[in-house]
Amino acid sequence: MRFAVLIALLFHLFAYGEEAAYRPGEGVQVAGLPLYVGGYFSLNYRQQEELQQLSLDDLALLAYGDDGKFFYLAEIEASDSYLKNWMPENSTNTELRFHAERLYFGYDFNDINSLKIGKYNSPIGFWNLTPVNVLRDTTSSPVSTEILFPKYTTGFGLSHHTYSASENSINLMMQQTRDLDALYNSDDVYNNFDTDRHYGIGFVHTLGAWSYQLNTGTFHTHLKETFFYLMASLCYESETFKLLSEIGSQHDRGEFSVPYAGYVQGVYRFTPQHAGILRLEAYKDDTRAAKDAFSVFGYTYRPIYPVALKAEYQLHSLHSEDQFLISFSVLF
């Protein structure tokens, strides 16, 4: 019933949106207001040695806009709203449970300085700012983006940008409260870490096709754990080729919790619509007694940019983790 209401809402907004010509991946304006709505979803199929699964993931609705120097954004997402398993057991689960993925408002002091307040993507590394399936290079995300730092921060975010021959940014994250999603889903917060404190800083330098980033910070979880993280990132991008690499570590009061987690990824665009991806990853996670090194071979087809069909095969040092993934994702 809730799924039907969501579809009806989306249809109404798109049918009566203000923009005369809808362009996929750009949302629509609502009734002449400084408000735009859009969303995205992804349908994923995964096969492993003892797992075969189809899921409707990343089902999200977002709304945003700006009025003068004020800006605002709200996003709700239902993850795994449909889950069909063939292995290890035949089962089907449908649950439309929405989480507050992002909710913030902010103020642009000028081109150089801005402040946002609320829940936002932690500006750490290059992958985490646009983490959704349709915008990333592969169906899967690097392990480093899941285990090193909180993907979302609830609090204040300060950004400082300067532009000359190069572009430079400093991003500050300050959280001294529980994750915003905990207000409604205290037992299932939408974040990879259920944090109640996070302080971090990041430096970004861009010169031509090269970008470099350095991030460090500390966060405290609802389970009374404290971690420190450090990550370095590098990106080179041209029309046909993209190189992305991130490596970091995490400490727990002087001892390594994650001694290392990182990857190197290359994307080659055969044509604007077709791309091949190779990613090499390695990590050691002492909190889960896990260690692995693996290769990801991917292919992405985008008939238009906001629509992506992807396939990938992962070859792990732990061969039980080898997996095949395909996905269909759309941004609207």
Partner: protein, 139 residues
């Protein structure tokens, strides 16, 4: 022979004539100190103000040859790169430049709205707007 030389020279220089000019509201603070790099930043919405003036960049429709020329010479980005950029910006809560359906509508918008900038053929410019950047193609 002289006629052939003159005709060839005229043809050569006409090909070097400005493909488009960038215009702004005549009374606005936007001046001729904007170079191609700054205009590119404005169209990527990385620069949104001149002093306190909010900038409003305007595009022509995707099928317009002038937009293709602007995209090639100022933006230096392919259709795929721009589509990728604006898809990510949409997720991050930022809008692409407004799209106008004709050169006449670009000029009318720029004439009425302080902070608006657009690109039009030079011969379309009238006294109601000012040229802040002129692009020449060729050598």
């Amino acid at each position: 022979m002289l006629r052939i030389i003159l005709t060839t020279a005229l043809l050569f220089f006409s090909l070097q004539a400005a493909q488009f000019v960038v215009i702004a509201n005549k009374a606005s603070k936007i001046g001729k100190d904007l170079d191609a790099n700054e205009i590119r930043r404005i169209y990527l919405k990385k620069r949104r103000y001149i002093d306190t003036l909010r900038l409003i960049p305007l595009n022509l429709s995707a099928s317009d040859p002038l937009r293709e020329s602007f995209q090639r010479t100022i933006m230096s980005m392919s259709d795929r790169q721009l589509a990728s950029y604006w898809a990510k910006q949409h997720y991050l809560g930022h809008r692409p430049p407004l799209t106008m359906m004709s050169v006449e509508s670009v000029i009318a918008f720029v004439r009425e709205v302080d902070g608006a900038i657009g690109y039009v053929p030079k011969e379309a410019v009238d006294a109601s707007v000012k040229i802040i950047y002129e692009q020449r193609e060729g050598l």
